[in-house]
Symmetry: C2
Subunit: 344 residues, 2 copies
């Protein structure tokens, strides 16, 4: 390849890269209902139903650090990461498959811990572990989760369905998982050379839990079904609010306005952010790992959505030409930017 142009991955960014690489992907099977570009692929299952399938890879050193990430939690989190993609389609998770690449240096007992977490999450979320394998790894631990779910076709929420004037709704609060990670990293640095390290987590247990044992918001998909609400679009917060809003805008060919003072941030998040000189809003926008759900509904549903008591309306959909902005309390507009391989 010595004669060829060399383009750095950072030039395209993570999302630009996958769009670029899959630009030729076309679908031809009559059973393929949705291909690349959403939280999960969608294939036909009978006349009215659909099977949704997602895949995620977690890599040691990138997605987790075994110095402080208990393997049981990691197994649990792997299932949540997969299931969250299914929920983001407004579908219900039914099965997961776990593939593991593992160094022969890890003892069987460590993998037992990992699978204990997998089993626990499966039971809690009502999904079946239906497959997977283990292979040798030369380097770090590699975990792949394939999650499978099901929905009525007409109940599916794609990223591409947001409409002008739709409300942008958000479950839970943001930034806590990112701050939990920052806390763990800080204690790791501080206690690097200490013989019997006793990390100081008092008062921040909630943040640790949000990072090490995030919830999959199956309760939300259940509530939406009970209330007969089908979001016009939906995505889960894995990369941060900014990135997810931009994904909806791109897929739906629309713009968005997010109001900074409406972004829900937990007290512990604000407290630790202050202590660590981090802007909690930046943590919410770009931190990621919250696995909350972001969805849009028509403006007319405002009252119905508010009555649920489990979502905040954080903004609304605008025309594509308007772009996607964060609106600060003093009324200034800040253009939303996504993060990935590089900070754009």
């Amino acid at each position: 390849m010595s004669q060829r142009k060399r383009t750095e991955i950072a030039e395209l960014g993570e999302f630009g890269l996958i769009d670029h690489l899959t630009r030729n992907a076309t679908t031809s099977s009559k059973h393929t209902l949705r291909g690349v570009g959403d939280d999960a692929a969608v294939v036909a299952a009978g006349r009215n139903d659909a099977t949704v399938i997602s895949t995620d890879t977690l890599l040691e050193g990138i997605d987790f650090d075994l110095t402080y990430f208990p393997l049981k939690h990691l197994g649990y989190k792997a299932v949540v990461v997969g299931v969250s993609d299914i929920l983001a389609m407004n579908a219900l998770p039914e099965q997961v498959m776990i593939s593991i690449g593992v160094s022969a240096k890890l003892p069987v007992e460590a993998l037992e811990d990992l699978y204990e977490g997998v089993d626990f999450a499966c039971k809690e979320l009502g999904v079946d572990l239906v497959g997977g394998d283990t292979t040798a790894s030369m380097t770090g631990l590699v975990i792949n989760i394939t999650a499978i779910g099901r929905a009525k076709r007409k109940a599916l929420s794609y990223r591409s369905g947001a409409q002008f004037n739709d409300l942008i709704c958000l479950t839970g609060n943001l930034g806590a998982a990112y701050l939990g990670l920052q806390l763990l990293e800080r204690e790791k640095r501080v206690l690097k050379d200490v013989a019997n390290p006793e990390p100081q987590f008092a008062g921040y247990e909630y943040l640790l839990q949000r990072y090490l044992k995030p919830r999959a918001r199956k309760d939300i998909v259940d509530i939406l079904a009970e209330e007969k609400i089908v979001p016009t679009s939906m995505i889960d917060i894995s990369d941060g609010l900014a990135s997810e809003v931009l994904q909806i805008c791109k897929a739906s060919k629309c713009g968005a306005r997010i109001y900074l003072d409406r972004i829900p941030i937990a007290k512990q998040t604000t407290a630790l952010a202050e202590e660590m000189h981090i802007d909690p809003v930046v943590a919410a926008l770009n931190g990621g790992g919250d696995y909350e759900l972001l969805f849009t509904v028509p403006l007319a549903m405002q009252e119905q959505v508010m009555r649920l008591g489990v979502v905040d309306v954080v903004g609304h959909i605008t025309r594509e030409t308007t772009g996607a902005y964060l609106v600060t309390p003093d009324g200034s507009d800040i253009k939303l930017r996504a993060q990935g391989f590089k900070e754009e």
Copy 2:
């Protein structure tokens, strides 16, 4: 974990390990038709159909060496590895999803090559690329393939259906992929310190092709459908004949006798094996990577199967108590052993 017992992965072996870890996996969803323990999981799709889903991880340094594995071929092979699992269920592949963990050091052009191979395989096999993502990797290249297929439920072949006296049938020939790998490894060693290496592959092109660009035997599943033959059991040859026969025996609770002189081995395989002082039968039994199909049919179908012209009958199913053996031309029996993390 200092107080806990430490069990080495090698003590259980690869297959023992995954059985051990998934021993508590039970299924509760009415849509889960088959869970762990086969080439793919099976979920309901309408009243008569099923969706089959498999997942495989390919790791740099374990499953491929980028020194000599062209990325275009690697993308192609990744799809074949996934699709082969679907075919092994007697199902037809329809979709694949590819997840890649990649070091930022690789240029975009390298990933374009990889995806060119993916696209080529998808077109050749008639499957849609429906998803995937790229994430940063701290270490080597990590590729995960999720393959999705479909079949009439009653046409599915599980590993568990082999019956006493069934014929054991095999497509193609074995050991070629393993010898192709040995050839590439030899040239890599020999040319390690050479400035402009010119590896010598003349006469062994077929072996390289079998390793670098294996075929997925979709033709076989098509022929079986045309002939209305539903194998009583089926598996693909990813780990070697010995391992796959043992998997069928374990799942079907039966024994097997494989006749050494009936194992099809290509001329180039025998020639290079001789040159490299490798027993070609050992390559066939334990080499793996051939992605041929191994299946069983009732004894009464012998003539019909032979007439297909694309399979060899290499043995037959016996009682479980008899065990699984390789029968040599002089009539002696050698117990079949699987390989995995360790040579058992």
